[in-house]
Amino acid sequence: MNTAPSVAEVRALIVKHKRWDLAFAVIGTLALMVGILTFVALFADMLIDGMPRLNYDFLTSFPSRRPEQAGILSAWVGSTLVMLVTAVAAVPLGVAAAIYLEEYAPKNWVTEIIEVNVTNLAGVPSIVYGLLALGLFVYQFGLGQSILAAGLTLALLILPVVIVATREAIRSIPSAIREGAYALGATRWQMVSQHILPYSIPGILTGVIIGMARAIGETAPVITIGALTFIAFLPPTPISGAFPFLSFEWLTAPFTVMPIQMFNWTSRPEAAFQANAAAAGLVLLVMTLSMNALAIYLRYKLRKNIQW
């Protein structure tokens, strides 16, 4: 039996099917627009509310009870330093964990537990990390209510994201590269450090950025461990005039961060503070954006050299 349809029938069928293609292309574009337009709307709204407050003084002043004099100097410096600690702690730890899981771990129940664990940590409410850190970092390890404690707390918070992204990046490296390195007599660590690590940097960067974008906006855990709201001085500078020129005193300094400033302002009665909050939100977003932009650029640069 030959049920092959005639050419005319086939054509009619194709026209029908292609309608779905078109419909989906439209639906897809719309879905994309929902996301992008929401972002644009949020950004525009903040821009309208916060733009008048965005000036040099806003960036270089300390908090004040007078909305027009209040600024975010201590907040953005604090956020920057906390993010620095977070990155320095989360990236090596997350990357090392991912490397272990992808390149070293035997396929057994221990590994499986670790894997479930990592995804599970992604769902723990951030405030619980704050409570954990208060007990562990602040009191147990005696780090106090410092930039160091806050950075480490946020590092724990974003660890799952870094681990997952890094694992995906490592997985995309073809096994031919691994075999090539081993075949030349490389040890496992040589293979990992000279190949796996450099080639997965773009993917790692993506994970770090997504994680950092989340960390920079967190308030509750940072307040729990003791971030301040009014602080009219900056932490000691990391570069000192005398030998050894580097100082780590800032790690133990009291601090505040951007989102705390923002939350405080949004909850104040005066309308002028709401404008400050919008302006701070804008600055926060720009900080996140520039982190993202840097990473996207780096990723783009590095990816050009690595293709499979």
């Binding site: 090539g180 075949a183 030349l184 007599g185 040890t187 190949h195 293709q307």
Partner: protein
């Protein structure tokens, strides 16, 4: 169903002058988890000669080749039984007490698909030396030039050593991988279908290269191309479903194989 493996070279008409044993596969079984891929393989490997492994797809050629540099150690669940003795020091390559890294430092491998690292041409060739702790610039420079010349690539790339290896053509990439292997002065060089992804011109240049190399190194090559086996090898082993059916001087295998199945395969009546 399959004839007993023939291990000794029975052909008196061996075209080569001297035949020194470089390595010897003894009663080798290999298992991928529960799948047995090699069954009681016995085979010699002669120094400074080319030995070809032929046989239908899936017969275990790659599996056997990869036993020589313990590549199977990289994946869990794989199991060796038997020995591969490396002469003159009589080490059993498969001994769990023998460090696979040591084995790989002595035995290099070139893969079916060229797999250069996403680094510069220079760094690709120097990689094996760096792994061995060599970092002196002058030594590296010399070795890189020597290896690239050995792989017939020096002329084409000497002005662009800092270029990314990915920018080379497929054939050049494969020669780069050969240079990378050569740079470490291996005792044995393993080739797994090195030309199957290459065009005829690149193929010809690599075959020529193998001809040159065998004056210095012992070579084991897997190929699915009978013509290639005939052209480049001194000895040929025919495998079928995990067993070694026949091993002999290449001329013997191609002109009057002992085994009916070998003959059928070589003349294309089967497989």
């Amino acid at each position: 169903m399959v004839a007993t493996p023939i291990v000794e070279v029975t052909s008196a008409a061996n075209p080569q002058q001297s035949k020194v044993l470089k390595a010897e596969v003894v009663d080798l079984n290999f298992h991928y988890g529960s799948v047995q891929a090699l069954k009681g393989i016995n085979m010699p490997l002669y120094e400074k000669h080319v030995t070809a492994l032929i046989g239908p797809s899936g017969c275990g050629k790659s599996t056997l080749l990869r036993c020589f540099n313990r590549m199977h150690d990289l994946y869990p669940g794989n199991r060796y039984e038997g020995r591969i003795k490396l002469h003159p020091d009589d080490t059993n390559l498969l001994d769990p007490k023998v460090d696979p890294i040591e084995v790989r430092m002595r035995i290099s491998m070139v893969f079916q698909k060229p797999n250069p690292f996403p680094k510069s041409i220079y760094e690709n060739v120097a990689y094996g030396l760096r792994v061995r702790g060599v970092s002196k610039r002058s030594v590296l420079d010399d070795k890189v030039e020597e290896a690239l010349s050995g792989a017939a690539l020096w002329g084409e790339v000497k002005d662009r050593l800092r270029d990314l290896a990915f920018n080379l053509s497929g054939g050049q990439q494969q020669r780069l991988c050969i240079a990378r292997a050569l740079a470490t002065d291996p005792e044995i060089l393993l080739f797994d279908e090195p030309t199957s992804a290459l065009d005829p011109i690149a193929t010809a240049s690599i075959e020529e290269l193998i001809g040159d190399l065998k004056n210095k190194i012992t070579i084991l090559i897997v190929t699915h191309n009978m013509q290639q086996a005939a052209r480049v090898s001194d000895f040929t082993a025919y495998m079928y479903i995990g067993e070694l059916v026949e091993f002999d001087a290449t001329d013997t295998i191609f002109i009057k194989p002992k085994n009916k199945q070998t003959e059928d395969y070589i003349t294309g009546r089967f497989g």
